[in-house]
């Protein structure tokens, strides 16, 4: 009986919930239309065989999943994505951290000059940057080859070499993202309160010690943000240079998960298989996200206010 007749207090709560719901409705509508609905459709398509134009979508159960999980190209794409992630962590997290450390130690004028110079590539489109780097890495008369030849060396082959083909692609993404991440990190460093630093210095934490024990822990939320951005870049951002520079070759050494998804759907017209690929990758990213949340609880210190 009690449960059927809502108490006044509960009624008030329901009312609040309704108001809250109304407030989130605009955002929720967008999410439902443009994120959840396509997501559901992708999951639906992952159990079908469809070429994008045919009227019929043939239901094939788990066949797509079986095909992907037993194909070499899936593991190759996954492995490559991981390799991209690791190199990008080096080039667009560690390197910007070092640079921003350096920038805090030079004068204001120099700092701004470096900041502008390093940030400039961010505004160049990724497609144009990729075309530019085709020329830079061209083993016949390209920029790097010419420099090597000038010193009497034999130019290296990049884009068609099994061992080095990833280099130009990582370089394009790193070149374009380094400045952006550096500005993010610099902002984080700038937000570390002066009094904390001064107090630490009085206690004897100077130079690297100050960085190790004060600044790095305090900017760890920024580092985590940059880290998550980098991981998603290794899947998404890398797509454009792959498409422009190598087309995934030679022998698939430069492909990654997003490029494979694109290729299955839009070059080979296997929309079902491509959807399956997306669903599996989504699963992997959800797992990574869980890991990230765990990690941020453990090692990232959020300042209590």
């Amino acid at each position: 009986m009690n449960r059927l007749i809502p108490k006044k207090e509960n009624l008030k709560k329901t009312g609040h919930a309704l108001t809250g719901f109304l407030f989130t409705l605009p955002a929720l509508t967008g999410f439902t239309l443009f994120v959840y609905r396509p997501l559901m459709e992708t999951i639906y398509l992952s159990f079908h065989d469809w070429n994008m134009v045919s009227r019929t979508k043939k239901f094939i159960g788990w066949d797509n999943y079986k095909e992907i999980l037993t194909s070499d190209s899936f593991y190759q794409a996954l492995w490559n994505t991981g390799v991209y992630a690791i190199w990008l962590i080096v080039f667009i997290i560690f390197l910007p951290l070092l640079l921003s450390y350096g920038l805090t130690r030079v004068g204001k004028w120099e700092r701004n000059l470096y900041r502008i110079t390093l940030f400039a590539p961010t505004v160049v489109s990724l497609g144009i940057a990729s075309v530019l780097f085709v020329w830079i890495f061209n083993p016949i008369g390209g920029f790097i080859a010419s420099v090597i030849e000038m010193f009497g060396g034999i130019p290296l082959n990049w884009t068609s070499s099994l061992e080095r083909a990833k280099t130009p692609i990582i370089t394009v993404v790193a070149w374009k993202s380094l400045g952006y991440n550096m500005v993010l990190l610099l902002a984080g460093i700038g937000a570390v309160p002066e009094e904390v630093k001064q107090a630490a210095e009085i206690d004897g934490a100077v130079g690297l010690k100050l960085w190790r024990y004060i600044i790095l822990p305090l900017i760890s939320p920024t580092i985590l943000t940059v880290f998550v951005l980098t991981i998603s870049m290794s899947a998404e951002y890398v797509f454009t240079p792959i498409h422009v520079i190598t087309g995934g070759g030679p022998q698939g050494v430069t492909t990654n998960v997003v490029f494979e998804i694109y290729r299955q759907a839009f070059q080979w017209f296997r929309v079902g298989l491509s959807s399956t690929f997306s669903v599996i990758v989504l699963g992997i990213f959800i797992a990574l996200l869980g890991f990230k949340i765990k990690l941020s609880e453990r090692i990232v210190s959020y300042e209590e206010r």
């Binding site: 085709v134 020329w135 008369g141 082959n157 068609s160 087309g247 070759g249 022998q251 839009f266 017209f269």
Partner: protein
């Protein structure tokens, strides 16, 4: 208020009446058709605009709206499929020869051959093509699905300055692949620059088809059996590998890199589509010469043509008929003259190249293009792998080529490729 409502209703009724009227209009009535093409501002857009304007003068009843599609034939095909899924396809579009079979079998369209009864001039239209060329738009059963429009063939471009520097005679370009190998090695040894590049792609095997078929091999034979590991194919790929690995006269690089190298004067010869002619003439800072693509000694050449064919995708009869009329114009002597002048493609209409009223002057003025024209008698359809897994099958061959040029043993690589192809094409 009431008046406004009445006007609104009136407007609605007249609009719906108009719509109903349009549906039953005879094919000659005023009709608007959409034409999708891949000709960007630097790749023949002017030719499209001129064609449309001239057609407008001839047939004021048919309004043609031309729409450029980003991303070449692949991009056009993607957008086309999206438009079809939304139930709103253009009346007609260019389809690259590499997607020809896919379009014939997978995309809903109106075969050109359907007009054979309706149009008394149909046979004159088909006979207006250079003999054999109209067959490029036919399927195995002989149904005329589409007609060829843009035509390109591989051409041997060469740097006459590098030829001289290497002690070769620029007036005697190599005629066979064996001669080409010697010339390439001589350029490599005497000048230090690379000798030759063959056009490659990350999505198709267009030039390899010419190399292999001229040697008597087939990727897929007449019976539909995979011929990739047969001796003629192995021999052709082994030849390619020797250029790269033994002679080191062929750089193992991407096609964009080869092109940059050639234009920078650091690659002696480059076998590439005739469609690059206009661009090469504009950009080369050396003495650029052209010759017909080499053949194998004592064997019949088979040259795979590239370019596109025109398909009708319009949904109602009036649109289909109007598109058919526009296609007839585009492939006529006049339509082809406009097209060839502004693109550098080869004409598909018979006799237009020798006709003083049309293209004779152009071909006399541009001796370089004659090399391309001379190969038309050897032309065969560009035959990508058929079926829903065809595009994926192309990728298998691309990866086999990459492995071979990287030094992998030829025959085992092609045997492995054959096994992978069997799984995809069964």
């Amino acid at each position: 208020m009431k008046k406004a409502l009445l006007i609104l209703i009136g407007a609605f009724v007249s609009v719906s009446m108009f719509a109903a009227g349009a549906k039953e209009a005879p094919p000659t009535g005023p009709v608007t058709i959409e034409y999708w093409h891949i000709n960007s501002a630097t790749f023949g857009e002017k030719a499209v605009v001129n064609s449309v304007n001239r057609f407008q003068e001839l047939k004021p009843n048919i309004k043609v709206v031309h729409r450029f599609q980003q991303g070449s034939y692949g991009g056009l095909l993607q957008n086309l499929q999206t438009a079809m899924a939304a139930g709103n396809p253009p009346a007609m579009a260019q389809i690259g020869y590499n997607n020809l079979l896919f379009a014939m079998h997978e995309l809903p369209h109106t075969p050109i051959g359907n007009f054979s009864k309706e149009d008394p001039q149909y046979s004159a239209f088909i006979n207006g093509f250079i003999p054999g060329l109209a067959d490029l738009g036919k399927d195995a059963k002989g149904v005329q699905h589409a007609v060829p429009y843009a035509l390109s063939v591989p051409v041997l471009y060469y740097n006459a300055d590098l030829f001289k520097a290497a002690g070769l005679d620029p007036d005697k370009p190599p005629v066979t692949w064996e001669e080409l190998r010697k010339a390439a090695k001589q350029i490599r040894d005497r000048t230090g620059e690379y000798g030759v590049g063959l056009q490659i792609s990350t999505s198709n095997n267009w030039l390899p088809q010419t190399l292999i078929e001229s040697n008597g091999g087939r990727f897929l034979d007449e019976k539909g059996e995979i011929g990739v590991s047969r001796p003629e194919v192995v021999e052709a790929y082994a030849f390619w590998q020797q250029l790269a690995v033994v002679d080191k006269s062929l750089p193992v690089v991407t096609d964009a890199e080869q092109e940059q190298a050639f234009l920078a004067g650091r690659l002696g010869m480059y076998v590439k589509t005739s469609a690059s002619m206009a661009n090469f003439i504009r950009q080369a800072k050396f003495t650029l010469r052209t010759a017909v693509v080499p053949g194998w000694a004592g064997k019949q050449k088979r040259i795979a043509v590239g370019g596109n064919a025109l398909f009708i995708f319009g949904k109602d009869a009036a649109q289909q008929r109007a598109a058919y009329e526009f296609i007839k114009f585009l492939t006529s002597k006049e339509g082809q003259t406009i097209w060839v002048l502004d693109t550098g493609y080869l004409p598909v209409a018979a006799g237009v190249a020798d006709d003083p009223n049309y293209l004779k002057e152009y071909f006399d003025r541009n001796p370089l293009t004659k090399a391309a024209l001379a190969q038309l008698p050897h032309s065969v359809p560009w035959m990508p792998f058929p079926g829903p897994r065809g595009q994926q099958a192309e990728q298998v061959l691309i990866e086999a080529r990459e492995a071979i040029l990287g030094g992998a043993p030829v025959q085992p690589t092609l045997i492995t490729a054959t096994e992978r192809l069997k799984a995809l094409l069964r």
